[in-house]
C-alpha cells in the first residue's frame, strides 16, 4: 500500500512540477509590482515543514495567518545575515499579494511556492519594479526602486538584468540554461533607483522576453524569480503633444492634441481639465478615443487648464505620462466662428457672447456693426439663447479690400458700446473661368485659368482638381467627392496652365479650383469640358493661290488638316499683298470643298491668301490662319487694248516727205494683262498694203510718210497673244487741212489744272476723238498729249503748269479719215498776264483818272491865278541888290541863291520827335515821258523814316502836283489858293530831329529862308529874330540822309526828278511867263553820305545838285499853331502872304489851310 501510495505521491509530484514549470516565470503586469526577498532558511523553515509545497499552485494562500505569526520579524534580522546567505525572492503586486517564491535546486531545477507577500514585506528586502516598452518600440525599460530602508542602504547597489527573447514560450517547457541569457547592467542612481534598458527589435515586439534580476547589495546577492513579458503588451506611449484649445464655430471649447504615429495600435486618451470662471469652478476627467474633446458651455472671461495622457485602446498597455498642462483663457467677447471664409452669394452667420463688467450681456441687447461704420439691420439678428446672439449675412458680396485689410470686421456690441475685438468675414469671388483647348493632334488638352479674382486672399493656395467621367458631361456639373489634383504652372501672362496628356477625347472633365486657406477651403463653380468639343484644329495645309489663265479668277485651294475627323468649315481671306493687307473674308461651309475661286479687280497684282478652319458644328475654336500663299503675276489674257499713241511730224519742206515719230505710253498692267513683251506697228497704205514692224519694248517709232494717206496701228503683244482692240491713226494730206475747231480757250484754274474749252464747226467727217497737245512755248522737247473723247467740249488738263511760262495748246481733231487741222492757242500765258494786270488796273486806273481830273482842275485854276500874281511880284534883279547877278530862271545850284546869308539866321531845334515810318514809293513810268507837259504824277513812298510819318508832301509840276502820301494813305491834295500874289514856295524834307543834326537843318533853313527874305526888299534882315526862326524850323523838311539805304532801293526818285528838273531847267530859257518857278531842296538819294547838304564845320549847305530842285512843292501841316503865331512876326506886309513850306507833320485840315493862306507871310518882293 505504501508503495502504492508512494507511487501515487510520486506521480502527483511530477504533475505538480510540470505544472509549475509552465508557470515558472512571473508575468509582468502593466502596472507596478514588487520584488521581495528573504533568506532561504527562513523560507524553508516555514515553507517546507508546513508541507504545503504540494499546494504551491494554490495562489489563494491558505496560510496567511501562519506566516504572519512565524515571520513576525524585523529588518534587523537581515542585517545579521552573512554574505553567503541565500535568499528566496518573490514577485507580488498590490492586485495579487501572493508571493511566488522561487528556489533553485541543486539539479538546477527550480520550484515555486506561494507565500503571502506580507511576510516578505516585513522581514525581507523589497523593490518596486515597473517595466514597459517605449513608444518607439525599440527599447524595453525596467525601473526598480528599493523599498527597504536601512540594511543595505550603505552598500553599493549593483543590478543586472539577464534576459532572453523567446519566440514562443510554450515551446520550451523548461527554463533555458543560464548561459543563454544576455545580461545588461542597470543604471542605478544614489537614490536606490535603477533603470535597465533592454534593446528589443521592433520585429520581435511580439516575442516573449524572459528575464530575471540579479541584485548585489552589501555583499548579498538577490536573484529574482524569472519574469516574462511580451513587449507589445507593456507599451508606454509618450505624452500627447500639440495640445490646443479653441472656441469652435458652434461656441464650444475644443481641446485637441496630436496622436503619436509610431504605435501600431489605437490609443485612448484621458483628458483632465478645470474651468475657472467668475461663476463657478469645475473639474472634469474624461476618457476619449479621438484626439479632441468638446467642452460645451464655454463662458467668456474664463480660464481652462488641460492635461492629456494616452494608453493602448484595446489590450494591455501602460498609461503615458501626463502632458504639459495648457491654460486657455477666453476673451470677454467670444465670436464663434471668429473668422469666416466664404464665397460670393453665400449666407453666413456669426454668434457672439458678450461679457461686460463681469456680467454677460443679454442676447436681446446685443447689436451688430460692420466695420464700425455700418449698423447691421436688426432683421438679420437672431437670439439663440439668453446670452448668444446671432447675425446672418445673406447673399454676400465680395469683400473690398480696405488698404491691407482684406476682410470685413463684424462687431458685437452692447447697445452703444462695442468691444474692440471683432470677427473677420472674408468673402471671396471664386468664379474662376477655366477655359480649355485641345490641340490639333487631339492628344493633349491645355486648360487655363486666372487667379486674379482671388489674389486678395493672402496665404491661400490654389489647386485645380478634376474628375473624369467615362463619357460626356452631365447637364449640371457638380463637384465630385473623389477628385484628382492637377499640376498647373503659372505663365507670364498671369494665367495658370494645366496640361492633360494623354486625353480621353469624349470623356467629361469636370474641373474646379480649390482655394486652400487656413480659414478653410473654397471651391470655384465646377466646369465640365469634353476635349473633343474644344479642339483647335491645325490650319489647313497646302494652301495655294493663283490667277487662272484666260478665266481671270483668283483660285484658292487647300487641304484639310488630318484631325479632327469631323466635318469642317473654312474661312478664306485674301488681299493685295503689301505691308498692310486689306483682307476680304469668305466663308466656306462645304466640308468637302477643297478650292474656291473669286473674281478680283486687279488680275496683275500679287494677292496674299490664307485659310483657316473650324468644326462645322461650331464646336471648338478656329484654327490659326495658314501660312500665307501668294499669287504669281503672269500673263492672264491678251492685252485688252493696244497703246494710245500720237505722233511728232518733222516736215521737210523741200521734199514732200515727212518723218513721223509715233509716241506711246507703255501699256499698264491692267491693260496688258499682265505684261508686254513687245509692240508691233502695223502700217497700211493704199500703195503698199499692210505690213508690220516689230518695235520691241520701245515706245517710240519713226517712219517716213510719203503717201497721201498712211494708217498705222500699234499692237501690244504678251505671252498669250496680241491685243485685239487697238488704236488707229491715219495721216492724210487732205485731212490735215480740215479745220473744225472754231475756237479754243484755256483757263488756268491753278498751277496744276487748266480748263480747255472749244467750239466745233459742223463737219461731214467722222470725228473719232481729239488729241490735245501742250507744251511750253518754244520748247519742243517736252510735248505732252492726251486723248479726249469726241463728245467732250470742255476738258480739265491736269499737269504741273509753271505760272511764269507760256504754254501752247493744240487741239487736233482725229477723224476716221485722218488727223485734222489743229487749233493752236497761246492763250494760257496771255490770259494769265491780263489776269494779273487786272487787279492792278482795277485799282490804279480809277486813281489815275480821278487824280488826273483833280490835278487838271487844280492846274487850270492855279494857272490862272499864278499867271496874275506871280509875275507881278517877281523881283526885278535890277532893283534887288541881293538878286543881282542871279538868274532866277536858271540857278546853277540851290545854294547860290542863299549862301550869302546863311550866317544871319540861326535855328532852334526841331520840336517833333523823329519816328520811323514806312512809305511806299512808286514812280509812274510816265516820268519817262519827255513831253513838254509833264503828266500828272503819282509818287508813293516806302520810307523807313520816322520824320515823314505824319507829313505829307505835295509835289506839283506847275499846276500839277505829285503827292507824297502818308503811310496811313491820308492823301491830301494841297491846293494852293494864293489869292493875290504868286509866291515862291520852298519845302525842305526833314528827316530827323536829332539834336546833333539840328544845326544842319538850321543851316539849310536859314539859308533858304534868309535868301528868300532877302529877295523881299520890304523885309529887313534884322526883323528876323533867331527865336522866331527856331520855331519856324518846324515848318521845313529835310530829306534825311540817315536812311538812304532804305529809301534808295524803293525810290527811283532822283532819276525821275532829274528828268523833271531838266524839264524845269528849261523854263527860264523858254522865258515862259506863264510858268511859276518853284524850288525845293532835296537831297539826292543816290549820293547818300557823300552829298550831305550841310556840315557842322561849314554850317553851310553843301553843293546842292540842281536836279534836286522841285517846283511847286507844298508841304502841308495840320498842326502848326506855333508856326502860325510866330508867323505874325514875319508878316510885314498885309498885302503879301507868306505861304510857308512847312513840314507837314500832321494832317492838313481845311481850316489849317485857310489859316496858313490867310495869315502867313508871303515871300514876295
Amino acid at each position: 500500500m505504501s508503495c502504492q501510495k508512494f507511487c501515487v505521491a510520486f506521480l502527483h509530484w511530477e504533475f505538480i512540477y510540470v505544472i509549475t514549470a509552465f508557470n515558472l516565470a512571473y508575468p509582468i503586469t502593466p502596472w507596478k509590482f514588487k520584488l521581495s526577498c528573504i533568506p532561504r532558511n527562513t523560507t524553508h523553515d516555514f515553507l517546507l515543514p508546513a508541507g504545503i509545497s504540494k499546494n504551491t499552485s494554490n495562489l489563494s494562500g491558505h496560510y496567511e495567518a501562519v506566516v504572519e505569526t512565524k515571520l513576525n520579524s524585523s529588518g534587523t534580522y537581515l542585517s545579521n545575515l552573512s554574505s553567503k546567505t541565500t535568499f528566496h525572492c518573490c514577485f507580488w503586486s498590490e492586485e495579487d499579494k501572493n508571493c511566488s517564491v522561487h528556489a533553485d535546486s541543486i539539479e538546477g531545477k527550480a520550484f515555486v511556492s506561494t507565500v503571502n507577500s506580507l511576510v516578505f514585506q516585513q522581514i525581507g528586502a523589497n523593490w518596486n519594479i515597473q517595466c514597459w516598452m517605449k513608444e518607439d518600440l525599440k527599447l524595453f525599460i525596467c525601473y526598480m526602486e528599493s523599498l527597504f530602508k536601512s540594511p543595505f542602504k550603505n552598500y553599493d547597489l549593483k543590478v543586472h538584468l539577464l534576459y532572453i527573447l523567446l519566440e514562443v514560450l510554450e515551446e520550451s517547457p523548461l527554463l533555458p540554461q543560464k548561459s543563454s541569457f544576455q545580461i545588461v547592467q542597470c543604471n542605478c542612481s544614489v537614490h536606490e533607483c535603477c533603470e535597465c534598458h533592454v534593446p528589443v527589435p521592433t520585429v520581435k515586439i511580439n516575442y516573449t522576453l524572459l528575464m530575471y534580476l540579479k541584485i548585489t547589495s552589501g555583499g548579498v546577492i538577490f536573484h529574482s524569480p524569472p519574469m516574462s513579458v511580451q513587449p507589445i503588451n507593456v507599451v508606454k506611449p509618450d505624452p500627447p503633444l500639440g495640445l490646443c484649445m479653441k472656441i469652435t464655430d458652434t461656441g464650444n471649447l475644443k481641446i485637441s492634441w496630436s496622436s503619436p504615429t509610431l504605435v501600431p495600435f489605437q490609443l485612448q486618451y484621458q483628458v483632465k481639465y478645470s474651468e475657472n470662471s467668475t461663476k463657478n469652478m469645475r473639474k472634469a476627467d474624461e476618457i476619449v478615443s479621438a484626439t479632441s474633446l468638446l467642452v460645451d458651455s464655454v463662458l467668456p472671461g474664463s480660464s481652462y487648464e488641460v492635461q492629456v495622457r494616452s494608453k493602448r485602446l484595446d489590450g494591455p498597455g501602460i498609461w503615458s505620462d501626463w502632458s504639459t498642462p495648457l491654460t486657455f483663457t477666453t476673451q470677454d467677447v467670444i465670436y464663434f466662428p471668429p473668422k469666416i471664409l466664404t464665397t460670393v452669394g453665400s449666407n453666413v452667420s456669426f454668434h457672439c457672447i458678450y461679457k461686460n463688467e463681469n456680467k454677460i450681456v443679454s442676447s436681446k441687447k446685443i447689436v451688430w456693426w460692420m466695420n464700425l461704420a455700418e449698423k447691421i439691420p436688426q432683421s438679420q439678428y437672431d437670439v439663440v439663447g439668453d446670452h448668444v446672439s446671432k447675425v446672418t449675412f445673406p447673399n454676400l458680396n465680395a469683400t473690398k479690400p480696405r488698404g491691407k485689410f482684406t476682410y470685413d470686421a463684424v462687431y458685437c456690441c452692447n447697445e452703444h458700446e462695442c468691444h474692440h475685438r471683432y470677427a473677420e468675414l472674408y468673402v471671396i469671388d471664386v468664379n474662376i473661368n477655366i477655359s480649355c483647348e485641345t490641340d490639333g493632334y487631339l492628344t493633349k488638352m491645355t486648360c487655363r485659368w486666372s487667379p486674379s479674382a482671388i489674389q486678395s486672399l493672402v496665404g491661400s493656395t490654389l489647386q485645380l482638381r478634376y474628375q473624369r467621367s467615362s463619357l460626356y458631361c452631365s447637364d449640371v456639373p457638380s463637384i465630385h467627392p473623389i477628385s484628382e489634383p492637377k499640376d498647373c504652372h503659372l505663365q507670364r501672362d498671369g494665367f495658370y496652365e494645366c496640361l492633360f496628356q494623354p486625353i480621353f477625347l469624349l470623356s467629361g472633365y469636370t474641373m474646379w479650383i480649390r482655394i486652400n486657406h487656413s480659414l478653410g477651403s473654397l471651391d470655384s463653380p465646377p466646369t465640365c469640358v469634353i476635349p473633343d468639343s474644344v479642339v483647335k484644329p491645325l490650319p489647313p495645309s497646302s494652301v495655294k493661290a493663283e490667277i487662272t489663265v484666260k478665266i481671270g479668277l483668283l483660285k484658292i485651294s487647300w487641304e484639310k488638316p488630318v484631325f479632327p475627323e469631323n466635318n469642317l468649315q473654312f474661312q478664306i481671306r485674301y488681299g493685295l499683298s503689301g505691308k498692310k493687307v486689306q483682307w476680304k473674308v469668305f466663308e466656306v461651309y462645304d466640308a468637302k470643298l477643297k478650292s474656291a475661286s473669286f473674281p478680283v479687280p486687279d488680275l496683275c497684282a500679287v494677292y496674299a491668301v490664307q485659310v483657316r478652319c473650324k468644326r462645322l458644328d461650331g464646336l471648338g475654336y478656329w484654327s490659326n490662319w495658314s501660312t500665307p500663299a501668294y499669287t504669281i503675276v503672269m500673263d492672264i489674257k491678251v492685252p485688252i487694248r493696244g497703246p494710245e499713241f500720237w505722233r511728232i511730224i518733222n516736215e521737210d519742206n523741200t521734199k514732200k516727205e515727212r518723218n513721223v515719230t509715233l509716241l506711246w505710253k507703255p501699256l499698264m498692267k491692267n491693260d496688258s494683262l499682265c505684261s508686254v513683251r513687245r509692240y508691233v506697228v502695223k502700217h497700211h497704205t493704199s500703195r503698199n498694203g499692210t505690213w508690220s514692224e516689230d518695235v520691241g519694248n520701245h515706245t517710240k517709232f519713226t517712219f517716213l510718210w510719203t503717201e497721201q494717206a498712211h494708217s498705222v496701228t500699234v499692237l501690244a503683244v504678251n505671252s498669250i497673244g496680241a491685243s485685239s482692240a487697238n488704236f488707229n491713226l491715219t495721216f492724210s494730206w487732205p485731212m490735215s487741212k480740215v479745220n473744225i475747231v472754231q475756237s479754243l480757250s484755256a483757263y488756268p484754274l491753278n498751277s496744276s489744272c487748266v480748263i480747255l474749252s472749244w467750239m466745233l464747226s459742223p463737219s461731214d467727217y467722222n470725228l473719232i476723238y481729239f488729241i490735245l497737245e501742250w507744251k511750253i512755248l518754244h520748247e519742243d522737247n517736252e510735248i505732252k498729249w492726251l486723248k479726249i473723247p469726241s463728245s467732250v467740249k470742255k476738258y480739265y488738263v491736269h499737269d504741273h503748269f509753271i505760272p511764269i511760262e507760256k504754254y501752247q495748246f493744240s487741239l487736233y481733231p482725229i477723224f476716221m479719215e485722218g488727223v485734222g487741222k489743229p487749233k493752236i492757242i497761246d492763250s494760257f500765258t496771255q490770259d494769265d498776264g491780263k489776269h494779273q494786270h487786272d487787279a492792278g488796273l482795277y485799282v490804279i486806273v480809277p486813281i489815275i483818272i480821278s487824280s488826273s481830273i483833280l490835278l487838271l482842275g487844280t492846274l487850270l485854276i492855279s494857272h490862272q491865278r499864278m499867271k496874275k500874281l506871280f509875275w507881278e511880284d517877281v523881283p526885278n534883279p535890277k532893283n534887288c541888290s541881293w538878286a543881282q547877278g542871279l538868274n532866277f530862271q536858271k540857278p546853277e545850284t540851290f545854294e547860290h541863291l542863299f549862301i550869302k546869308h546863311t550866317e544871319s539866321v540861326t535855328f532852334g531845334p526841331l520840336l517833333l520827335e523823329p519816328e520811323t515810318i514806312s512809305e511806299d514809293i512808286s514812280v509812274d513810268t510816265s516820268w519817262k515821258n519827255k513831253d513838254e507837259m509833264v503828266p500828272p504824277t503819282t509818287v508813293s513812298l516806302l520810307l523807313m523814316t520816322r520824320d515823314l510819318e505824319k507829313g505829307s508832301i505835295c509835289i506839283s509840276d506847275q499846276c500839277s502836283s505829285a503827292h507824297f502820301s502818308e503811310v496811313e494813305s491820308t492823301e491830301i491834295t494841297c491846293e494852293e489858293e494864293s489869292r493875290r500874289q504868286p509866291s515862291v514856295k520852298y519845302a525842305t524834307l526833314l528827316s530827323n530831329s536829332k539834336s546833333g543834326e539840328t544845326e544842319e537843318e538850321q543851316g539849310l533853313v536859314n539859308s533858304s529862308v534868309s535868301k528868300c527874305f532877302s529877295s523881299n526888299n520890304s523885309l529887313p534882315k534884322d526883323s528876323f529874330s533867331n527865336n522866331s526862326w527856331e520855331i519856324e524850323t518846324q515848318a521845313f523838311f529835310i530829306l534825311s540822309d540817315q536812311h538812304p539805304n532804305i529809301i534808295s532801293p524803293h525810290l527811283p526818285f532822283s532819276g525821275g526828278l532829274d528828268e523833271l528838273l531838266k524839264l524845269e531847267g528849261n523854263f527860264p530859257e523858254e522865258n515862259n511867263d506863264e510858268r511859276s518857278v518853284y524850288y525845293l531842296g532835296v537831297t539826292s538819294i543816290k549820293k547818300r553820305e557823300s552829298d550831305v547838304l550841310l556840315t557842322d564845320e561849314s554850317r553851310v549847305l553843301s553843293p546842292f545838285p540842281s536836279h534836286c530842285l522841285f517846283t511847286d512843292i507844298r508841304i502841308l501841316q495840320d498842326s502848326f499853331s506855333h508856326l502860325v503865331e510866330n508867323s505874325f512876326n514875319l508878316g510885314t506886309s498885309d498885302q503879301k502872304t507868306f505861304v510857308s513850306y512847312i513840314p507837314q507833320f500832321q494832317t492838313c485840315s481845311t481850316q489849317t489851310q485857310k489859316i496858313v493862306e490867310n495869315k502867313m507871310c508871303d515871300l514876295t518882293v
Partner: protein, 166 residues
C-alpha cells in the same frame, strides 16, 4: 431568377441616364468619328504598315480580321486590343488606348440604346502569354496589333452603318 429583369434594369440605368441626355444620333456620329480618328492615328504611326504578303505567326492572341458583326463582339475585340496596347510601352499607343476606352463606352451606350446586355468584357486567358511575347518581340507585337486594330476598326465602321445587332 425573379431579380433578373431588375438587375438588368439597374445595370442599364447609368447608360439609360446618358442616353436621356445625349441623343443617340450624336453617339453614333461620335462613334464613327472616333473610329476614324483612331484609324488616322494608327496611320500617322509610320511603322504600322505590315506587308500583306507575310503572315506573322505566334501572335494568335491578337484578334484577327474576322468580321465582327455584333456590338458585343466589337466590345470584346476592343477590350483585347486595349489590353494589348496598355501593355505596350510605346507612348504613341497610350492615346490610342484611351481612345479605345472611349470607343467601348460609346458601344455600350449604343448597345443600351438597343437594350442589348453588354457585359463588361473580361481579360482573356490568351493574354496570359502576352508578357512573355512582349519581352521577346515587342516590335512585332506593336506593329501587328496596330495593324490588325486598324483593320478591325475599319470593319466596325462599315458594320456600324449597317446597324449591328447585340
Amino acid at each position: 431568377m425573379r431579380c433578373g429583369p431588375l438587375c438588368r434594369f439597374l445595370w442599364l440605368w447609368p447608360y439609360l441616364s446618358y442616353i436621356e441626355a445625349v441623343p443617340i444620333r450624336k453617339v453614333q456620329d461620335d462613334t464613327k468619328t472616333l473610329i476614324k480618328t483612331i484609324v488616322t492615328r494608327i496611320n500617322d504611326i509610320s511603322h504600322t504598315s505590315v506587308s500583306s504578303k507575310q503572315r506573322v505567326t505566334g501572335l494568335d492572341f491578337i484578334p484577327g480580321l474576322t468580321p465582327v458583326l455584333s456590338l458585343s463582339k466589337m466590345d470584346q475585340t476592343l477590350a483585347i486590343y486595349q489590353q494589348i496596347l496598355t501593355s505596350l510601352p510605346s507612348r504613341n499607343v497610350i492615346q490610342i488606348s484611351n481612345d479605345l476606352e472611349n470607343l467601348r463606352d460609346l458601344l455600350h451606350l449604343l448597345a443600351s440604346s438597343k437594350s442589348c446586355p453588354l457585359p463588361q468584357a473580361r481579360a482573356l486567358e490568351t493574354l496570359e502569354s502576352l508578357g512573355g511575347v512582349l519581352e521577346a518581340s515587342l516590335y512585332s507585337t506593336e506593329v501587328v496589333a496596330l495593324s490588325r486594330l486598324q483593320g478591325s476598326l475599319q470593319d466596325m465602321l462599315r458594320q456600324l452603318d449597317l446597324s449591328p445587332g447585340c
